[in-house]
Amino acid sequence: MTKLLTRKAERIDELAESGGTSLAKDAFRRMRRSPAAITGAVITILFVLLAIFSPWLAPKDPYVRYDELRENLTPSHIPGPMPGFLLGSDQNGFDFFSRLLVASQQTLIVGVGATVIGAAIGMLIGGLAGALGGWVDTLLMRFTDILLALPSLLLAVSIAAMFANGTQWTVIIAVSVVSVPIFARLLRGSMLAQRSSDHVLAATALGVKRTTIVFRHMLPNSLGPVIVQATLTLATSILEAAALSFLGLGDSDPDRAEWGLMLAKAQGLLDVKPELAFYPAIAIIVVALGFTLLGESLREALDPKNRR
């Protein structure tokens, strides 16, 4: 009982100290205190910086086959580290270290591209369904239910298989389709919940136009969950893209440096040079983990239930 009382007292003190804050400010404050959030944010920032600056960071040209590397390259031997080439060669005589760095860029493009397209289409569907209601809502939600009725990887596979030759864009489109229904459901749910909430009722009573209510009152309030979902989708998109590459549905450009592709193509080389698979795999795992940590802690921080 006393424990309960002191906890309550602490809470009141805390509230008094903070002097009332906005949800965003409050969420940011809480995120700063969570080690998971900081880890996630640091990984994400480092990854994005690496992706942007990797062309300048890479010591060698990642798209040039070097003779020094190629002359020692046999099916059973891939040169290891040597002067000028930090991690040695990959299976094609490229500088492995430079490719590993530059691959972050393609990985980020695939992840962000798929997430942005998926979120945009999903939000359009969900927003229309939530704002209009009625038969539009029923129709659109039936459609998203169907997309949800297929396991995500199979959905991505069936989209990717439609294209005769895989490119970076077929991968992005295939992976983005998977997240469309998730964003649609999310935004619709959030808008439905708001339709009968006080601030929307008040705006309606004041005679505010419906489009204004949707764009100025409902959408901004739904952005939190969407941002959380987008962060988590970034992680799954990168993993799905890697899986597509593994199944032979990835980018068919043989020289493209992307972690998922590099990992998929190095499967058979574990005996020769396991690093060729391990390093891209570790990179994918760390980045996926970073996005997930960031997304999860954002979710927790933005949850009003946790507001203290």
């Binding site: 039936r142 459609f143 239910d145 169907i146 009725a149 297929l150 396991p151 995500s152 990887l153 199979l154 596979v157 069936s158 298989a161 439609m162 294209f163 005769a164 992680a235 993993l239 890697a242 899986a243 593994f246 199944l247 032979g248 549905l249 998922g260 990992l263 998929a264 499967q267 574990l270 005996d271 396991p274 698979a277 795999a281 994918i284 795992i285 760390v286 996926a288 983990l289 997930t292 940590l293 999860e296």
Partner: protein, 334 residues
Amino acid sequence: MLRFTVRRLLQAIPTLLVLSILVFAWLRVLPGGPAGALLGDKATPESLADMRRLMGLDEPIIVQYFKFLGRVFTGDFGNSLASGDAVITEIARRFPATIELSICALVLAIAFGIPLGYLAARYRGRLLDNAAVITTLVGVAVPVFFLGVLLKYIFAQKLGILPPSGRQDVTIDATHVTGFFVLDGLLTGELDAAWDAIKHLILPSIALASIPFAVIVRITRASVLDVQQEDFVRTAESKGLTTPVIRRRHVLRNALLPVSTTIGLQTGLLLAGAVLTEKVFNWQGLGSLLAEGIERRDFPRLQGLLLLAAAVYVVVNLLVDISYAIIDPRVRVR
């Protein structure tokens, strides 16, 4: 209860119908249309025209759709381009292998996932909890196929204690009655064959179980933490019930509800994971059938497997909802 079941069953029908329309449309937007997809690289303008007539592609689209639907209902998905066999025969042949693998993976995920999730919640914030949370985060971040390749590399290639691929050693001359190799071994009394099949199962099951395991741990932990704060738990405490009784009857029982939903959903997703796992371990099941189908652009086969996967997913969801209504009477009202 019956009313709920019937209503839920009726709801599944339009879903499946629209799904069939989507798959039908999917075949039609493929490069070269269904005839081109069927003939593959060998297509010439004449053979394409012949095939189009043969497939009834010159008929009105509505007629085509209903014919397609009729074929699907009778289990006729056409013949595989790669093997020439009927797709439904291929599926039937490979089905036991995937079921065997999926059951093993699911048992592993549940048997380790629920206790770990429960213990993590009970010892919240302690070492075990932190380890569990990190495991679930990493478990979802590791590409399934890479985990498979890694397990194969360590346990089969480096240590040599487990077989790297396949379902049974080729030198073992086992009799197969059911197609479930472990069960076959036990039924026929060929224990060495059963044991060999089990050894082959270990690595692929672990790889396939990784994601369901991580998800189950997560949901169990979150759910137990939620239930612990419920009013009825406090009531039970104040009634003076002993802690073990509260934990078993009040906390665990209620906490397992969302877990059962998760298990159901993960079951529906297993086929997707199986595509990757079976390819890594050369496991002759539906997943590798699909993976081979992708490589060869074997569209009749892909169409059959996609419809099957979707149907399984819808049915599993249905079963989950119904079982949920049995466990929790409150659901029925909605």
